[in-house]
Symmetry: D2
Subunit: 373 residues, 4 copies
């Protein structure tokens, strides 16, 4: 039988995402309502592993006042980090040798020494993998662990979506909307590069919502000639401009090989991102002026959309509920219409790409969007 | 075996909703891509039933140019109406008697006379009921019918959600966000009335996303004293203001009776909406200044969110796909992650209220929102 | 010669306005940069006059941390009030008689007792009148006073504009934009009531920016038949809907008399605002369905626009600069391209209405907007 | 005495700017109200000079329907171009030699042959210079010319501001707001590059409104060490991140020389824009992770703000009014509170930089923003 909980901690790891603060607030309020104390760990697990960085405490009590009015703010009041992994913590020996050590036990012991009974880990694939290890090692020591999925790219498996993605898509759509009139007025090709190293969700959704003419995603290697043909077809129909949206991880057919060859020549660094590259190539092929716009960091911040705020709150409250019910080693997930729990071990290391047989891709084809194939 | 389609028509009925134009565009492009001709019917079925209202044609060919750049615009290029029902069309006899007649056959015959093989009906419960009748009567005459669900209130059954709702929630959230600072600066109770006659989805989602302190929905009859207690508890904790979000259909416990009694006294008309009423009552009970804000019509218009644009496009393309596959009498529906088909007869006349056992309601309670019970 | 300043206080009075926090931050940073201490007075002058309302101090030191990240937030961290006037403070004698007394000396003495050398008063006409009295009485006691104009309605004289107005116009424009599609889809007349009891700035600017078809302002008494004629002319041109924007203070020709007569009949209360009234009247006259939307409180809150944030910052810094230069009894004002100073006595009690000979009104007429005359 | 006008033409030149369509609509409605016919010239003067590019007419009648609902749309329904200058039109002789010729007479003759009496030229410095030549040569041939200023950068002299600038500042502010939380969560330096080759208005206004920590403008050559010192001072105060906003034309002290030397080494091309450059340099100096975000093209498009829509409408109506009053060779300008006229010859070739002695710069310094000097 599980022990009743008295104290929990919460950690946010990996890249920034709109909705983190709404999760923190929901966890705090739902836990305090159960009479639990809530602690925050600074910047992923740095609050425990790098205590010297923090003038006061790396793990500190979260009060109700601290979470007032934060649901609609971007960022995380705990801070986050996408450097370092507690499972491969880098130490430098006296002789200067650098080694990686697993410090998961330090985290568990630190929390248990504070009488913390449970941990809510909010993060992406990396953080959830760590959460799973902390669960496996920690449970016998009295620490339960629950994960909350966070990924702007929407590439986490076993949850329909998570907070941050809708905000990123909404802002990318707003940006691409803005480029339409300029592209048309100047008769240009605009290539918009959006986040998505391994999965093309943002490119696909924002590209469709903003009626882009071509959308390139990592899941579908593209043929430059197909895109050029689309641009030319539009030209012939009197549409003197085109908008191409490309996920940063989009690759040409046989692209890996192309990059490898470039790498041998030492030229990769000068290539720039996919956006610049495509703009350059399409200008050469089509003879039309082409420009790149890289949205990158703009998609991580901002006030979360109402959809993301609600998803974040539901995740935060569900995490507390799961702990209250005695769970450990699970992640809360969105399985419309409700939130459910999935085993962390089923999630870690798995990536959810765009379903090429799904109706969204089919819709893109049906309404005439070039997917590069 | 079903006949191949050559011509289809599309109709938008009921109240305005953000995303209608994106549906129309997607239907048009997906149909034209299959070599079909597409026709639009003006203002629901008025284009057929009230031909004299239209200087040119009540049913007119939709060209590719007509659907350019309309996906992000609110409204519907076809027009809509929420007056009149073709199944109960009002005619006035020579002697001045008013009768209702069923004109569904007129619609079918008119479309068949134009060699139109299929009809896409976009609308809410009323429109989908009509669509089902048109399907039942029309199929033998060579007319297939597919429905596309439209409801800002999100109260249609058998689809997780539909376009329009996310936009309404997003804008309501924006409005309530704005009221926070004013309510706080002036130490007021603000009552925000939002759409939702039978279902509290908008109130619940927007109220949570904007961190309202009390949310009243038709599914949970409210106790005025509970709301007042919440306001007082906040006051004692140093929060001198409160935000109450109420669906227009929210009712007090035993409220139907209360309204009936008022009606007998002939005072109902002067009561104003639920917002004004609650503001008045809460000011009396708590002694705090209270004001009402009615969002009403503001939630029907505007540019659809990226979520709604995509949902609308997917629905439009799926409707064409369903017709192409030989379907009739079905509605396209969102069953994450994909769109599926459900029988119109399973949808018509059914209402989807907020799931009182779902995790969203549970989350509201967990983070301390007063639901009036 | 003026004494160098060591401590200043700041007060925000009257209705909420987007930009107040940006003023407070700018005053605080600009003062601290000069080595001054900054104090905040709670809720207008209540922090001094009603000390029992505040658990801690009604006048408290503002730290740099308190003003972090507040520039883009609506509201005021000091609180405000639009009840009560220190010059006519209501006291109840032992025998229950209510009298008004002037407590301006109490304010001056309280501040001087705290060694506060100067006061920045942020507010509208009422607050600036108080500021002028405090200046006149306080200067000899060692208190300098500078005013910062605040009015959403834009009706303060001697400054081109001030913060809050642009945000209100922007949001009203957004709302009216949203109503266009719904009005058109449903072929309705929509009457939008916006703030502006004495001046029609918001109605005029938002109505023009959102291409309303008629705009009614207090400065131009309207003739209902002119508006109806405009609606009918649009109808004949195939535009089956119309948007009317009305300032809350708009009056029909001879309207004062009309209201007086109604008042005699005791019916004024039931009239509702100008929006409801106009919708009712226009529906009767034109036979078209008409609806009212009241934006009211929505226009006071929200994140200030970039224009308003900058104006607020410039005003805040200019107020400190004015004090540093030895000024008292002045208000900072926007006189493009720079901020200047005007005597408070020239401002108090004066109202700035829309210039009926200005080019904005001329533009409205030139592009065919009905102004009701 | 001037002839009464019967036909006018309108041309939009140079880069895209939000508000162009609102100008076109206002010109059209104000002219039609006077009984004039209105013609549009496609893409600057290409509609006249390169007639073969246009399947129909390069100069075409603008109907009332064409300008319906365009005021809130970005772009220009006429198209624009920032290639080519009619005063230095490039022709290629039979022997392949390229020469520049002045084709202003062709424009005048073409318009006069169509019985067009007046021309409204909307554009920036280049366009207004052309407008002045057309006025000087055209007046005796019966063509009056009026200019409407357009510059997103706000660098046109003799007008307080013009449409497009407020929209650009608003969107840049929104973008920088979004970067705050990410920069803070990740403890990074973010360098945001905005438009402004010769003048720093956008950087200054958006940087201040979004509370950037350093703002670099062309008018103030920067010292890298000063920026690094600011970042370090923030670090020591516990603020582990910084936002630097740089106009694309910002230069280091002695910067021209630096660029020249780089150019000799053939390395300029690899330098990237000022954003990338600064991020690279600041990361090296401060040891903090730094990233660049280039807003560039995002600032040209989008729906104009209410401020810009109104300014655009007022300019459009004023241009027509000026023509009606018999003017030629003038530009309409914003001189708060009204629009006035200035001679085109006083405007052409003059640039309006940020006033280094103005109160906005003073405010930036007062609230602690590093301006690099």
């Amino acid at each position: 039988m599980t022990q009743p909980i008295k104290r929990i901690a919460i950690s946010t790891g990996g890249g920034d995402a709109p909705g983190l603060n709404a999760v923190i607030r929901a966890v705090t309020l739902a836990a305090q309502r159960r009479g639990w104390e809530v602690f925050g760990i600074r910047e992923g697990f740095n609050g425990i592993l790098l205590p010297d960085r923090y003038p006061v405490n790396g793990v500190f009590p979260i009060t109700k006042d601290m979470v007032r009015g934060i649901s609609h703010l971007g960022g995380t009041i705990l801070g986050t980090t996408n450097h370092g992994n507690p499972l491969r913590f880098v130490v430098t020996d006296a002789d200067g040798t650098r080694r990686e050590i697993d410090r998961s036990d330090d985290i568990i012991d630190h929390l248990r020494a504070m009488n913390i009974d449970a941990l809510v880990c909010v993060g992406g694939d990396g953080t959830l993998t760590i959460a799973n290890v902390l669960h496996q090692k920690g449970l016998s020591k009295g620490l339960r662990v629950v994960g909350v999925p966070k990924t702007i790219d929407n590439d986490l498996d076993k949850t329909y979506t998570t907070f941050g993605f809708d905000t990123a898509v909404a802002f990318a759509t707003d940006c691409i909307d803005r480029l339409h009139s300029t592209a048309e007025s100047h008769q240009r090709v605009m290539v918009v590069e959006v986040m998505g190293r391994y999965a093309g969700w943002i490119a696909l959704h924002a590209g469709m919502a903003s009626t882009a003419h071509a959308i390139l995603i990592p899941e579908i290697p593209y043929d430059l000639d197909k895109i050029a043909a689309k641009i030319r077809a539009r030209q012939q129909a009197g549409r003197n401009y085109s908008i191409v949206v490309a996920a940063e991880g989009a690759l040409p057919k046989g692209g890996q090989r192309y990059l490898e060859e470039k790498a041998k020549l030492g030229e990769v660094e000068r290539l720039g991102g996919i956006g610049e590259q495509l703009a350059h190539q399409l200008q050469e092929i089509t003879g039309k002026e082409a420009r790149a716009v890289v949205l990158g960091h703009l998609l991580r911040g901002g006030s979360p959309t109402s959809f993301d705020r609600l998803a974040a709150m539901r995740f935060g409250a569900a995490a507390v509920r799961a702990l209250d019910e005695g769970h450990s080693g699970i992640m809360v997930a969105l399985a419309f219409p409700n939130v459910n729990y999935v085993r962390l071990e089923e999630v870690a290391g798995r990536m959810k790409g765009v379903d090429l047989d799904g109706d969204t891709i089919q819709t893109a084809r049906d309404i005439g969007i070039c997917l590069g194939d």
